[in-house]
Every structure is written in C-alpha cells, then in structure tokens.
C-alpha cells in the first residue's frame, strides 16, 4: 500500500491535474489492487537462459564422445536456429532507432539463440578445426555475427555480448597468435595495449553511433565498456616501476570526469573520478610515506574530493 500516493491521487483528481480514468488506474496500483509481475517474469526468463546455457555446456563436455560431434553440432545448430527463427518471425521492421520489443521473451530468446550459436561455433571449431592454428578468429566471427543480430533485432544485451567477444578475441589473439608481432614488449604490456586499443575503439564506435544516429541508444553500452577497458588497463600498470601509467590514469580519469560532467553523464563521471583518485593515491604511495602521513593524505584528499562533489552539486542545483 502506498497510502501517500493514494491520498495524493484523490487530491490531484479533485484539482483536475489527473483525469478520472488516470486516477482510477493510479489508485488501483497505489492500493495494490493491481500489481505488475513484469520484473519477475523477466528474471525467470533471464535466469532460465543462463541455466540452460550452463546445461548445454555440460552436455557438450560430458557427452561428446557418446553422442558424437555431428549430433552435438547439429543439435546446437537446430536449437539456435529455432530461437533465431522465432525472433525473426516476431521482429518489427528494421529501424536505426529504438524499437519497442514485440514480446516479453523477444530479447531473451535472441540472447539464447546467440549464445547457442556461439557454443555451436566454438564446438565446431574445436572438433573439426576448420580455422586450424588461427582458431581464435572464430571469436571475431562470433562478435561480428552478434553485432549484426544486435543491430537488426535492436538488442543492447546482445550488443554487449558482441563487444565483449571482440575484446576476448583480441586478448586470446595476443597471447596465442601474435606473439611474434608483440615480441618487442612483454605479454602483459601487449595485453594492456590491446585492452586500451579495444577500449578506444568502443568509445569511438559509440560516438559514431550517436553522431550518425545509427542505433544511438547502443552508445552507452559501448562507451561504458570502452572506458572500463581503458581505465582498467591503465590501472593494471600501477603496480609496476613505471610512473607513466599512474600519470596517464590520472590525466585520463580527470579528462573523463570533466567531459562526462559537462554532458551530464554521471555514471561515466564516477568512473573518471574513481580512476583519477586511484592514480593519485598510487602515485603518492610511491613516495613511501610514513603511515601517519599516508592516512592524513587519504583523509584530506577524500575530504577534498567530497567537498568538490558537494560544491559542484550545489552549483548544479542553483543552475537548475
């Protein structure tokens, strides 16, 4: 029961802010006479898909000798095709904009189809080795296929799968295929460079999607994943001897915080602030300060950041 809302609906209806029809519906929801289980159904669908995929993984692992590779590959293909065929039948006409989901299960069955397709592709690659030594390329293929399906059927969930699979392709390729190419630097440095490269690619991709209005609502997925990769890669270098990563993380985090704040993108702003503060703290600790000085440093800098946040927020309120 939302007693305040119930009373407010009566008052707003008397003041003719709400129509009788609006008030009736709002009142029913406030009095718990009408309750949505939409969230619970979505949770069941999502959990069902993840559990099914876990089962598929085990099925393949435990039964591939008994069932045979062809039967497993065919089974996975059929299951994926079934899901994607259902999605295709339900799908609204293609649009570069945000299209409403035609069915509660639409995006989830698309996700299941894509995950089954990924499992199928990986299984075929592992069993029949069509790509030979360059087997990690199947991850790139899967990434492209996922991205295509995400764009066609307008799914941010599948788009995030496409981006993470692309990043996985870079990671595996650096470690297994491109050892000669990256031989000048250590494996850790190569991975870091690739993570930063991937992150920048995602950020630029997101910016282009928004600029050219091609699925602009996908941009937050690309931007967040991109910035997390960039900041995470820089942060992974903080433990080494080189202070360059600390300085780079400080500058990048600060720039991101300023950029994101100006555009009112507060989740990116938080990432930037946390990145910059982590870098600042790590750089300070490199000076090997006494324990008391270190704690004073963290007390003062935290309070300074807090003061800055509250001041900025006050200015925003005044402006609003």
């Amino acid at each position: 029961m939302q007693t305040e809302v119930d009373a407010a609906v009566e008052r707003l209806c008397r003041q003719q802010v709400l129509s009788a029809a609006q008030a009736d519906r709002f009142r029913r929801v406030a009095r718990r006479e009408l309750v949505s289980v939409h969230r619970e159904l979505r949770f069941l669908l999502y959990a069902g898909i993840l559990v099914t995929m876990a089962g598929v993984g085990l099925l393949v692992k435990e039964n591939y000798e008994r069932l045979g590779p062809l039967a497993i590959a065919a089974g996975l293909t059929l299951a994926a095709a079934g899901c994607l065929a259902w999605v295709r039948r339900q799908a609204p006409p293609f649009s570069w904009g945000d299209s409403a989901s035609p069915h509660l299960a639409y995006e989830y069955l698309l996700l299941l189809g894509v995950l089954l397709l990924g499992a199928d592709l990986a299984y075929v690659e592992a069993q029949f080795t069509p790509l030979g030594n360059v087997w990690p390329w199947h991850l790139l293929l899967m990434s492209v296929v996922s991205a295509t399906l995400a764009v066609r059927y307008d799914s941010r969930i599948v788009f995030s799968v496409a981006l993470s699979t692309f990043a996985a392709w870079r990671g595996v390729s650096v470690m297994l295929l491109e050892t000669a190419f990256w031989s000048g630097s250590g494996q850790e440095a190569s991975l870091r460079a690739n993570a930063i490269g991937c992150g920048i690619f995602f950020i630029v991709l997101g910016a282009m999607l928004r600029r050219y209005e091609r699925k602009p609502h996908f941009e937050p997925v690309a931007a967040h994943l991109g910035w997390i990769l960039v900041l995470g890669a820089l942060a992974s270098g903080l433990g080494g001897d080189d202070t360059a990563f600390g300085v780079a993380l400080l500058l990048t985090g600060t720039a991101l915080a300023v950029f994101a704040f100006r555009r009112g993108r507060f989740s990116l702003f938080s990432l930037g602030v946390l990145g910059a503060y982590t870098a600042l703290g790590a750089l300070f600790l490199r000076t090997d300060p006494p324990f008391a000085v270190a704690s004073l440093w963290f007390a003062l800098t935290s309070l300074a950041v807090l003061g800055g946040l509250l001041t900025v927020h006050q200015k925003m309120r005044r402006r609003a």
Partner: protein, 391 residues
C-alpha cells in the same frame, strides 16, 4: 524520524510515483510539474552516481581520520575502545545534524557517517568488553545484543532500511548464541513476519519506516527458511554461528520437518505473494525456490546435472511465458489483480543490469587457455578460446 523528515519522505513517495507515471507516458510534463509543485522537496538529495561517490569518499575519509589519530597518538589498548566509541558517537551526532539541520536525504554522506559511526560504537564497545574480561560465552551475546539495539535505534531515528536489515541480522545471530538457537530462530521469525508485514503497510508510519519493516520481513523469512532448511539442518549452520555450537540435528527424528520446510516455505511464500499481491514475498519465494531446487539436486540425483540444468532452465522459460500468456489473456490484461505489463516501473535500469550481466555469459568469457583447443564448457561458460583475465 523527525516530523519534518517524515513529511519530506511522504512527499518524496508521491513525486517518485508521478515520475513513474510520466515514464510510462500515463501523464504529461505539465501534470508531472503540477505534482512536483504540489509536493515540493525540501531535502538535499544527490543522484545515484554522486551519492555513490559521496558515500565512498566519506567512508574513506572517516576511516583515514581515525587511523591517523591512532597512528599519531598511539593510544594504549585501554584507550582504543573508548576512543572508537567517542569517534563513533560523534559521527552519529553528525548524522543527526545532517538529516535534521542540513535536511540531507539520499546524499550518501549521512548513510556513510551513520554506518561508520555505528561500526565504531559497536566495535569500540566490543573492545571494552574484551578488556573487561568477557570471553566467548559472554562476549558474543553481549556484543550482538548491543549491535542489535544500536542498529535498530538508528533505523528508527534515521529511517535507514540498511540499519534495520543489519539490526535484524544481528538479532538472529544473537539468538543463535543461545541454547536451542534454531528453535529461537523459528519462533522469532514466526512472530516477526506478521508484525513486520503489518508495519510495512501501516499508514501511520512514514515510507522510510515501512521500507525498514520490509527489510526486517525479508530477513525474518530468510531466517525461518535457514532454520528449517535441510542443508542448514544437516550442516548445523545456525549452531555454527554460536561460539560453542555443536550440531546434533543431523540424526534428529525431527529431520523430516526440515525436509518439509525446504519444500514448503518457498511454495507458501510464492502462493501468499500471489494471493495477496505482495511482490516482496513473491520475490523471496522465487529466490528461496531456486535455493530449494539446488538443495534437491544436491540430495537427490534424479538425473545428470546437464539434464537438470537444461530442463530446469527450459522450465523457467516456459513458466515465464505461460504466466505471461495467462495474465495477458485475462480481462484488460490482468488476472486476480496481477498483470504482466510493466505499469510504471523503470525498465531502463533493469536493461542496464541485464546488459552488464550478459558480459559474463558471452562466448569467450572464461580464463585464458594457452594450449587448450578442446571445448571445456561448464558453469554457463563456453567457447573455443576465452577472454583474457587481463581484460
């Protein structure tokens, strides 16, 4: 809660509902503006991102200040307890000032000062008890009793649901210290569930206290389930929380009660949630139902795990689709007051969470496998290669 904080909380409830109506397109901007103007906000609030940052940096600053004082003045062991209590109490006063004079709510800082302050008060008191010679048998009950009272008082004074939840957790841990703790859990939960259910809907209480009651309700339901859960019964989970606990329930003739409890509590919660249209109870029932199914699989090997997972997952999908179809086929898309339509919920937040969670299920989301060309799936992860742990 002070009267003006309670009134601000009631007005907030109306504004939030109106924002939901607007999000769903049920009202226009003018109507929303009229609601916001009729129910104005006199509190200082921060958005989720600023609030999270404010909370993190306040917690960091407060702990760093205390560590600095300890590092500089190096107080003896006998002073550490009173010092922590004094620091914690001053933070509690600071919380009161923020919520009262500064009219802060959902600002991150007041939650941080409250939680850190209570932590120091309770921790400092624990140190004092230790110094006074209390040991396990007496120390833990006294410590958890104090923690329960402190967090419950904080929940009442400041209307913080997290404090209410922690108070309930400490209360059940306190009961576990007693002889027959498991039965005390059952008795306490059976008493607390109807009381907190009633309080969670009482029009006399401000929304913050109703949310606190819901938090207590959730903890009480989980505690009842834990006390009657077969795995907890066999492993002596509740008895293990006591300093001198020993499990003597595994071979008890009452074990069938635990089997029945594991099976029936989730079903009862789901049925009650659907019948009375209480989403919290329904959600708890679903979560406990998953726990019971996992327990069933651990005790009864009806089929290989992959069969259970595939059929379990497919059953969940089928159940969701059947429920949607059933509800949608009712008059005006509803049956018994339940609908599959989202009504006035914020779907974007759920979509963001799902997009983030999908990363873990993506092909390649597994640790690097240098020479591994074989498929070694498991746990929902699969793929011929795998993401680097560095990414």
């Amino acid at each position: 809660m002070t009267a003006d904080a309670a009134e601000a909380d009631r007005r907030r409830e109306v504004r939030e509902a109106a924002r939901g109506w607007r999000r769903a397109g049920a009202i226009d901007e003018a109507a929303l503006a009229a609601v916001v103007s009729a129910y104005p906000d006199d509190r200082v609030r921060l958005g989720p991102a600023f609030r999270t940052l404010a909370f993190i940096f306040t917690v960091l600053a407060l702990n760093a200040i205390f560590v600095f004082v300890v590092a500089v003045f190096e107080p003896g062991e006998d002073v550490a307890g009173p010092l922590a209590i004094a620091f914690g109490l001053s933070l509690c006063v600071l919380t009161d000032v923020q919520i009262g004079s500064f009219k802060r709510d959902e600002g991150g800082t007041e939650t941080a000062t409250a939680l850190v302050g209570l932590g120091y008060v309770v921790g400092g008191a624990g140190l004092l008890m230790w110094e006074a010679g209390l040991r396990e048998g007496a120390l833990f009950p006294a410590f958890f009793a104090l923690a329960t009272v402190a967090f419950a008082a904080a929940a009442k004074r400041w209307g913080m649901a997290v404090c209410a939840a922690l108070a309930a957790v400490f209360f059940f841990v306190l009961l576990a210290q007693c002889r027959g703790g498991r039965f005390l859990w059952i008795a306490a939960a059976v008493m607390m569930i109807p009381l907190s259910l009633k309080a969670s809907e009482s029009p006399r209480l401000p929304p913050a206290h109703r949310r606190s009651s819901k938090a207590v309700l959730a903890i009480a339901v989980v505690a009842l389930y834990a006390a009657l859960h077969l795995g907890s019964w066999d492993s002596g989970f509740v008895e293990g929380l006591a300093s001198t606990g020993t499990n003597r329930w595994r071979d008890s003739p009452l074990r069938p009660v635990a089997i029945a409890g594991t099976a029936l509590i989730p079903l009862a919660a789901i049925a009650f949630g659907i019948h009375t249209r209480r989403r919290l109870v329904l959600d708890l029932g679903l979560a406990l139902g998953i726990a019971s199914l996992v327990t069933l699989r651990l005790y009864v090997h009806v089929a290989p795990l992959w069969v259970v997972l595939i059929f379990g997952g497919a059953a969940a999908i089928a159940a969701a689709l059947a429920a949607r179809r059933f509800l949608a086929s009712g008059r005006a898309g509803e049956r018994g007051g339940l609908t599959a339509e989202p009504l006035f919920e914020d779907l974007s937040r759920q979509a963001e969470l799902e997009a983030a969670a999908a990363l873990a299920a993506a092909p390649g989301a597994r640790p690097p496998a240098h020479d591994d060309r074989t498929l070694t799936p498991g746990g929902g992860r699969f793929g011929g290669g795998g993401a680097s742990g560095e990414y």
